[in-house]
């Protein structure tokens, strides 16, 4: 048996095919190792469950969020009862079930927080892309508009607008989105200006790609990381904004159970029933803290330098 035969009959070498992990997979794995981010996700899922299952809780307790139960919820002296088997977290000053109201309030908070963020993100990305990509007079006009929005005392204007048009959930969402999109547009605009001059956009432009194609196919994917981070931080801001408006009595319809309105209801009764203040405050704090921590976690996970 000659040497060449041996080489010929040698076992075919198994090449281990190395699959590169995509950037999203890497980011997800980094995020899963971040204990604070995982804890935040758990809290967010719990709050979401509270919101989704709100009608179920109403069914179990037999308490509607809007109905007053003066005979069972108020003591003979007219004070609200504390936490117990009937009213899990106690009753409010009008004899309504605090837990059921908080669960329905979670719906409002999440609805407003998420939809305002989506709206602000879409609007901000479009305006930022156009301003950054075209430059010139388009950028001039849009940048001035952003300046006006950012220099507006937005809380004051939001208060005026909501009070004047009448409080409702869609209006609250719109107002929050309108005053949040400018920050998003600023960031997107800055990034787009950077990408406009880069070699890969030059290359596709020389191949005859249309401006729309360059913006959507070539530039937009590069913006996903900063936009995701900013959007995840917009959610808690929007939730707090809604709670603040409702606390001032200018948010969603005052009868709708919202965390801000529940907090406002408690202000005259916290001496006799501290739970009225403590439970909504803790819930609001936990939710915003969780979204903030998750946003920070996402930022770290998406950062390629880590």
């Amino acid at each position: 048996m000659s040497l060449t035969d041996a080489a010929f009959e040698a076992e075919p070498v198994h090449v281990e095919v190395v699959h590169g992990k995509g950037p999203w997979r890497l980011a997800w794995e980094r995020l899963r190792r971040d204990k604070a981010a995982v804890a935040s996700m758990v809290v967010i899922v719990l709050v979401a469950l509270l919101a989704i299952l709100a009608p179920l809780f109403a069914l179990i307790t037999g308490h509607d969020p809007l109905t007053q139960y003066p005979s069972t919820a108020l003591t003979p002296e007219g004070l609200p009862v504390g936490p117990g088997a009937d009213f899990w977290l106690g009753a409010d000053s009008l004899g309504r079930d605090l837990f059921v109201r908080l669960a329905y309030g979670a719906r409002i908070s999440l609805l407003v927080g998420l939809s305002a963020t989506v709206l602000a993100t879409v609007f901000g990305v479009v305006v930022g892309l156009l301003a950054g990509f075209y430059g010139g007079w388009v950028d001039g006009v849009l940048a001035r508009v952003l300046d006006v929005v950012l220099s507006f005392p937005y809380l004051l204007v939001a208060i005026v607008l909501v009070a004047a048009v009448g409080a409702s959930v869609p209006l609250t969402i719109f107002v929050i989105a309108f005053f949040s999109f400018a920050a998003m547009a600023r960031v997107v605009r800055g990034q787009t200006i950077g990408f406009r001059e880069r070699e890969f956009t030059e290359a596709v432009r020389s191949l005859g790609a249309s401006p729309l194609r360059i913006m959507v196919i070539d530039v937009l994917p590069n913006l996903v990381a900063p936009v995701t981070v900013l959007a995840s931080l917009l959610i808690p801001t929007s939730i707090v904004f809604e709670a603040t408006l409702s606390f001032l009595g200018l948010g969603v319809d005052p009868r709708t159970p919202s965390w801000g309105a529940i907090l406002a209801d408690s202000t005259d009764f916290y001496r006799v029933a501290p739970g009225l203040l403590v439970f909504p405050a803790v819930l609001l704090l936990l939710t915003t803290l969780a979204f903030n921590l998750l946003g920070d976690g996402i930022r770290d996970a998406l950062d390629p330098r880590r």
């Binding site: 300046d147 005392p153 204007v157 208060i159 005026v160 606390f247 907090l263 202000t267 203040l277 609001l284």
Partner: protein
Amino acid sequence: MVRLVNYTALIVVASSLAWLLAAVTLDPRANYAGRTPAPPAAVVDAALSEVNLNDRDPLLDRYLTWASGLVRGDFGRTWDGLSVGADLAERAGVTLRLVTAGLVAGALIGLTVGTLAAVHHRRWFDRLSGGVVFLLLAVPAVVLANVLILGAIWVNDTTGTRFLMVSGETTTGGLLDRLGHLVLPALTLALPLAAVVSRYQRNTMLDVLNADHVRTARAKGLPRRTVIVKHALRTALIPTSAYLTFTFGALLVGSTVTETVFGRHGLGQRLIAAIRTGDVNTVAAITTVAAVALLLSAVAADVLQRVLNPGRAR
């Protein structure tokens, strides 16, 4: 100079938009609706036209009347004929006291904590303050104010004193009494500010502590304390003080919630009351004042940054 023109244009646009928004949406006529006997429509019209609040007058005419008044420094009148300017001047004092107290307290706490955290980098104080800062950044002002109220009631009950007050500006008029009313609302503004400032200060201080001139000072044999205070802290204060100046305008706007919770009759509380009574001129005036304050503090921060920049001192 170009910037100044830009800023002036911004203020004109912002205040005009605020007035238009208020004029189109608010309803000062509602103030007369509940009266018995109902005043004749002509009387109401005349009374509203008198103070430039009649929604049946052409919008453009009303706008021009308002704008020409504003240019002469006249903010117009409220629905019951009072001068908006005089009313706001009084209210502005209340808000200014609160915001100043909050800003000073926030700056002092933030600078101290931030500097200490940088000096004790990665030791227990740094970690602890980092955690507290994160918590404070997530607390909504509404929650923080109410938590402080609960805390104050507990302090008053346990010590048996009544120093910390949760509502109004003063009951007896004494200086100590005013202070007792000021502590909680000022803390509500100061704590979140202190959280941001301490983070800011910690990061600049960390940069500065590793800078060449600080290492040289240490190498000369100067004591650690002298180097930290005289060489490092002085340099690190520049960006932080610019940030603080910039914050002033934002605090003015942010004090609305605090004033409402603590029942202080400042600008923010006046705004909400003005919306309820349909006082277009008051709403526009407060928005204008806030916009001017925001831009002025932005300009001041710019100037401060340039003046204090050690690179320009040569």
